[in-house]
């Protein structure tokens, strides 16, 4: 079921106000130090509508960096779980973020559902915005994960200047639009034309053309020797920045914290790039060699993710490109692989 409407930009604020009355509203906002991040909205007029494409991913809202799983009360010997049921609407996220969540759904919900993720997901409505101005680091276009989604969204808005072209897919999304039907009108032929033009112009603006498929084939062909990965590894600072920024990196660890009367069992983000990640009893480190960890990260995203979940472990958001101090982000490594494919040799210096 796909429905399309037009929303006059003058009505946006009223619509969001109404939604905020019913549930938590999260949107791009400036924080205390002036960065634009996703935050709970108090003043609608403070939403950053014209922010850059790339913001910190919304992963935090589905798999928080620190999340309490249980609270154990020592006195009553009882365990209470803290599954969030807060209804939320997340406004202004990008296509790549929505695509990433769709992949995570298969990982977290399809087999042995993770109740924390599932509940957050089921209680969140996503209103994503098509990117008219992709950032120089974006490469979703080669992956069909942006700048525009053909499917898999709740509500998708395309900015047509004075109005939004609105598409809704899920039932919840459609009902939310129908409740405010007086704000929405039927699209005319000119709206479709304008939308098409916006998409064409957006597509033309991409600076990066990266093919993960090609990288995957190349790795599978066996032509990429360990010396290549050794070179990549030598540039890794083991900061974990790529992992924390990536909307598709989900590894976590679990800790117990004791307080006077209670114990909190919580999970927090972890990184497979850290040496201790696979530590065994007695201090044995199966992945002590750094190259193993580098390969693990890339192979997971390029080989195993598609094998198991039928999509790459990367949506081309370019966040790791911005973050990585060693310039061994997904895009850079794929570019290097491509030059091997083209030149039939390994390029080890700046790619």
């Amino acid at each position: 079921m796909k429905r399309e409407w037009i929303l006059d930009k003058n009505h946006l604020s009223y619509w969001l106000r109404q939604l905020r009355n019913q549930m938590q509203l999260i949107a791009p906002m400036r924080d205390q130090v002036g960065d634009i991040v996703f935050k709970q909205v108090e003043h609608i007029h403070k939403i950053e509508l014209n922010c850059p494409s790339l913001l910190p991913s919304v992963k935090e809202f589905f798999l928080p960096q620190y999340e309490r799983l249980f609270e154990y009360s020592k006195k009553d010997d009882r365990v209470v779980d803290s599954i969030s049921k807060t209804k939320r609407v997340i406004f202004g996220l990008r296509s790549c973020d929505v695509a990433a969540l769709n992949t995570l759904d298969r990982f977290f919900i399809d087999e042995m559902p993770d109740p924390y993720y599932k509940s957050r997901r089921e209680n969140s409505l996503l209103i994503s915005i098509v990117c008219n101005n992709p950032d120089p680091t974006c490469f979703c276009i080669g992956l069909d994960t942006g700048p525009y989604l053909k499917q898999g969204f709740d509500i998708q808005l395309t900015d047509l200047g004075d109005r939004y072209f609105v598409q809704a897919e899920s039932e919840w999304a459609i009902s939310i639009i129908k409740n405010y039907h007086f704000l929405f009108s039927r699209p005319q032929k000119s709206d479709y034309d304008d939308q098409y033009e916006v998409l064409l112009s957006s597509k033309a603006r991409f600076q990066k053309r990266i093919s993960l498929q090609q990288s995957r084939q190349l790795i599978k062909s066996g032509r990429i020797k360990d010396s290549f990965w050794q070179g990549i590894t030598s540039r890794c600072f083991e900061c974990g920045g790529c992992v924390y920024q990536c909307p598709l990196c989900t590894c976590f660890t679990v800790v117990d914290r004791s307080y006077n009367d209670t114990v909190e069992r919580a999970r927090l983000w972890d990184s497979c790039l850290f040496k201790g990640f696979t530590r065994l009893a007695g201090g044995i480190l199966p992945n002590e060699e750094r190259i193993k960890r580098t390969k693990r990260w890339f192979f997971h995203k390029l080989i195993h993710y598609p094998d198991v979940l039928e999509s790459f472990g990367c949506v081309g958001c370019g966040r790791c490109t911005v973050t990585c101090p060693g310039r061994i982000d997904m895009a850079s490594v794929c570019m290097k692989l491509k030059s091997i494919a083209l030149n039939g040799e390994e390029i080890t210096d700046e790619g």
């Binding site: 799983l69 249980f70 154990y72 020592k74 010997d77 365990v79 779980d81 599954i83 990982f107 977290f108 087999e111 042995m112 559902p113 993770d114 109740p115 989900t250 590894c251 976590f252 660890t253 679990v254 800790v255 117990d256 004791s258 114990v263 069992r265 999970r267 972890d270 497979c272 990640f277 696979t278 530590r279 065994l280 009893a281 007695g282 199966p286 193993k292 693990r296 192979f299 997971h300 195993h304 094998d307 198991v308």
Partner: protein
């Protein structure tokens, strides 16, 4: 069956939620290994080769194999070696204290492979824990010829020493060996993999179950394969760092597979094909 009042179907709702067990008995095995018998607040259905996440609130959770005979019961046993933080805290507990568990997780041992064949069981150290219910199952079913090759650090480190005597009486060919003998030790000395000649089976026609330190597993698998045992009948259970047990935390990731949910029991064939853990097989 003792099922106390509680909210219904806890574990179905939340895969991470542990249930409470009360320690009925602690039987010391060696200086750092004890057998814990628990009575649970609700029954669990487990099989040999599977494991549970066992926890003490405030210390954390660790994966521990089932060491009692497969069944559906409120009774379960874990044989736990003290090696670090969590296992250290578990060893401070007394009878009547609580352990919390969730599971069972992972694949069980493929018992059907043993049908009509001789069985070789190779254990190293605490690796005997998941193999105990296997041996007992074979003894209960009576028609199996079982050889157990079991290596320990020293005679004082032999876990389930009493059981090995009982198994011997029941007809198991029990071969014990130690790395470092003490005075009075009359048995074998050296690695289990030097004792194949004592196994008394035709390796080509048997099935093997192996558990122990990784170096031992690797050597044993290679030897048995060399002796002509088909690789799909060489079975082991692997250890990995585990934080969730249900394929979510990523810690036990090994290529396409997660040791926790796709294992921990694997055949040599699978280990080779999936290059699990880059073991260098």
């Amino acid at each position: 069956m003792k099922v106390k009042n509680r909210e219904p179907a806890k574990q179905e709702n939340n895969i991470y939620r542990p249930i409470k067990g009360t320690i009925e008995r602690i039987k010391k095995q060696t200086s750092d290994v004890s057998l814990f018998t628990l009575e649970l607040e609700e029954p669990v259905h487990y099989k040999a080769g599977q494991f549970f996440m066992v926890s003490v609130w405030g210390a954390g959770e660790v994966p521990i194999s089932v060491t009692s005979l497969a069944r559906k019961s409120t009774r379960i046993e874990f044989c736990i070696r003290r090696v670090g933080m969590v296992t250290g805290r578990i060893h401070q507990l007394k009878e009547g204290d609580n352990l919390w568990i969730r599971g069972p997780y992972g694949r069980a041992f493929p018992l059907e492979l043993a049908k009509g064949r001789d069985v070789v069981i190779v254990a190293g150290g605490i690796g005997i824990a998941p193999l105990r219910p296997l041996i007992e199952t074979f003894m209960k079913r009576k028609k199996y010829k079982v050889s157990l090759l079991y290596g320990s650090r020293s005679p004082d480190d032999i876990v389930y020493l009493d059981e090995t005597r009982k198994w011997k009486q029941q007809g198991v060919n029990v071969v014990l060996t130690v790395d470092r003998p003490t005075d009075g030790w009359k048995g074998n000395v050296g690695l289990v993999t030097t004792l194949w000649h004592l196994a008394e089976v035709d390796f080509k026609k048997s099935v093997a179950f192996i558990c122990g330190p990784e170096v031992m597993i690797r050597a044993a698998m290679q030897d048995l394969f060399f002796f002509g045992m088909p690789e799909e009948r060489i079975i082991t259970t692997l250890e990995a760092h585990m934080k969730c047990g249900v394929g979510k935390c990523g810690h036990c990731y090994a290529g396409k597979l997660y040791i926790c949910k796709d294992g921990p029991v694997f055949s040599y064939k699978e280990i080779k094909e999936q290059s699990i853990l880059n073991l260098g097989f």
